[in-house]
């Protein structure tokens, strides 16, 4: 294909120098913002190092090409910032857009523009600077903990079928029952159902029914009036009230006691409930999405879950497959977890080696995506940068033959057990020795001695040590 006139493909003119003698090119090469310039025919005439890194396009490939084919931004077609600046003379500052890289990833960027003039003041083109906002976007999403449909990893046919089902299920407004093991993404799907539903502008409220004792769960769900019980000094709105106009996600509904099941059935059937101590009913205006990792049909047969409530909540049932049944979702999940942890922990992990990926895809992950995340986090603590190899993954993921230091007698078996218990406690407590010792029922000086005898290097007290981190055994 045509690549533009030869003059547009030649290297940029000799670099200019600042008054201090530093060349402009040197400055452009050193900054972290991408910068490119174009001539009046929209051909790229310069492309700095950061531009190469952000777009993934080598300078020699970019020079002389149409800027829209190089930059591939969402704004190119309808609201090109450079065209606006060249037409009006007004610079654009920090306009946000996304670009699409060669791997099909949308990279959020902020764009600014300026006019380029020659020595006589004539316009010879424009300059565009752009900043990669991926990390900021990751942080923002992490902070807000907002999950969208696009956050559900669905490379497998099984998950793609579920994704295809969601818009219609969301639109229906019916009560939906999500079934799946722990860590299969029931919360993500519930959030997606809300985001796709006509109630998306309303609140999305989650209640973990298994995390609260029955009496507390009742007041949490329905609220109470002042004086309803000792200590109830003023009215408290329940989750049904807080979720008004939105979606109430009842996680672990299989844990609800029979007494509370009766109250839930009433609110689902009659759309009314009474806060504790109230004399009047209140109207419920929520869409309920429920989830459980139990076999609710079996619970019904065993008499532990009300049949009428079961039929009421499973107007539509969406079973979520465990990760072991969709191994093709593991690589994109790993990619997502690494990107997220790089942002949260300030790491520079580049991915996993093919060998480590083979280990991950061979594991059956009884804890599903949550266990996978833990495995990646474990590796982060060990390396912090570079690719993750099999040796950085938790030992239980490795095939038995590949596990190092297999115990051969009782004493070694006990030592191995202690070693794993300490590492797990440190990992769970993010490297805090004091907290890990508490979990293990030890004084921290005992933990220190024990770890030393087992050849484990402990982190600094504040848990921030990474390279010499909490579960990095000496000599590994």
């Amino acid at each position: 294909m045509k690549r533009g006139p030869p003059e547009a493909r030649r290297a940029p003119a000799a670099p200019e120098s600042t008054p201090s003698g530093i060349s402009t090119d040197s400055i452009l090469e050193s900054i972290s913002d991408g910068v490119f310039t174009v001539d009046r025919a929209w051909r790229v005439t310069s492309f700095n190092r950061a531009a190469e890194e952000i777009t993934g396009i080598a300078r020699e490939d970019a020079l002389g090409r149409r800027c829209s084919d190089v930059f591939r931004a969402s704004m190119c077609e309808s609201e090109c910032a450079l065209r606006h600046t060249l037409d009006t003379g007004v610079p654009v500052v920090n306009h946000t857009a996304f670009i699409v890289d060669a791997a099909g990833r949308r990279i959020p960027v902020s764009v600014s523009t300026a006019i380029l003039r020659d020595a006589d003041g004539a316009v010879v083109g424009g300059a565009e600077t752009f900043r990669d906002l991926s990390q900021i976007e990751e942080l923002r999403k992490e902070v807000l903990d907002r999950r969208e449909v696009g956050d559900i990893v669905a490379r497998s046919d099984a998950m793609r079928r579920i994704l295809a089902l969601l818009p219609r299920a969301a639109e229906s407004g019916s009560t939906i029952l999500l079934l799946g093991e722990t860590g299969t993404g029931k919360g993500l799907v519930a959030r997606a159902l809300h985001d796709l539903s006509p109630r998306r502008e309303g609140p999305f409220v989650t209640v973990n029914c298994g995390a609260l004792p029955d009496t507390l769960l009742e007041s949490e769900l329905f609220g109470y009036k002042a004086g309803a019980f000792t200590g109830a000094a003023k009215d408290k709105a329940g989750r049904f009230a807080i979720a008004r106009g939105g979606t109430l996600f009842l996680d672990e509904i299989g844990e609800v006691t029979p007494a509370l099941q009766v109250r839930l059935l009433r609110v689902l059937e009659e759309k009314v409930y009474e806060p504790l101590g109230a004399t009047r009913s209140e109207e419920s205006d929520v869409r309920v999405v429920a989830a459980t990792n139990r076999d609710l049909a079996a619970e019904v047969s065993a008499g532990r879950f009300r049949r009428d409530l079961y039929w009421r909540i499973r107007v539509m049932e969406i079973p979520l497959p465990p990760l072991r049944e969709r191994p093709e979702d593991i690589p994109p999940l790993v990619e997502r977890f690494i990107a997220r942890l790089n942002v949260l922990k300030g790491g520079r992990v580049e991915g996993v080696t093919p060998e480590a990926m083979a280990v991950l895809t061979a594991h059956d992950f009884p804890g599903n995506a949550r266990e996978l995340l833990n495995a990646i986090e474990h590796a982060f603590v060990l390396i912090g940068k570079g690719p993750i190899g099999p040796e950085h993954l938790p030992r239980e993921l490795l095939p038995a033959a590949a596990r190092p230091r297999r115990p051969v007698n009782l004493r070694e078996a006990v030592s191995e057990f202690e070693r794993r218990a300490i590492l797990e406690a440190l990992r769970r407590r993010r490297g805090s020795r004091a907290a890990a010792a508490r979990d293990l029922g030890l004084h921290k000086s005992t933990l220190f001695r024990k770890a030393k005898s087992l050849g484990l290097a402990l982190p600094e007290e504040d848990g921030r040590a990474r390279r010499e981190g909490p579960d990095r055994p000496k000599g590994d």
Binding site: R72, C76, E77, S78, I99, G104, E335, G351, V352
Partner: protein, 139 residues
């Protein structure tokens, strides 16, 4: 064969996700037997996919396309020939001959894309990184 070509300013539209128009070409016997211009304006990017499916398109030639949309297109049975750039009349000439744009039409940085796609995973680079070639498996 019915081929859609996303267009803008006389060229392939740079980003499918936000494109607004497509040229729908019916090719038979080495020539274009019909060519119509269709709007792909839609409130959501997935609306463009549904529109192309409704138009009975078999193959899409487009510029950059994000992965979720590429998957959606494939799920609708539309073959995707993405990350292409060039003048419309040149691309139409190639399509009329019964072929698809070759790598010389590839967008900058995407020339090896087709080969990598068939090369499978890995290639010693690992998975999940942000570097070039980090995600290279495609259907």
């Amino acid at each position: 064969m019915r081929t859609a070509l996303t267009i803008w300013d006389g060229r392939i539209s740079p980003v499918f996700d936000v494109c607004r128009e497509a040229l729908i070409l019916d090719v038979a016997g080495g020539r274009v037997v019909s060519a119509t211009q269709e709007s792909l304006e839609s409130p959501t990017p997935f609306g463009k996919v549904e529109r192309l499916a409704a138009l009975g398109v078999d193959t899409l030639v487009c510029g950059a396309v994000s992965e979720p949309l590429r998957r959606a297109l494939l799920a609708c049975g539309i073959r995707v020939h993405g990350f292409m750039a060039g003048e419309i009349h040149e691309v139409v000439r190639v399509i009329a001959s019964g072929a698809l744009p070759d790598p010389s039409f590839a967008m900058p940085g995407c020339r090896g894309r087709q080969m990598r796609r068939r090369g499978g995973r890995g290639q010693g680079r690992g998975f999940g990184g942000r570097g070039r070639g980090g995600r290279d498996e495609r259907s």
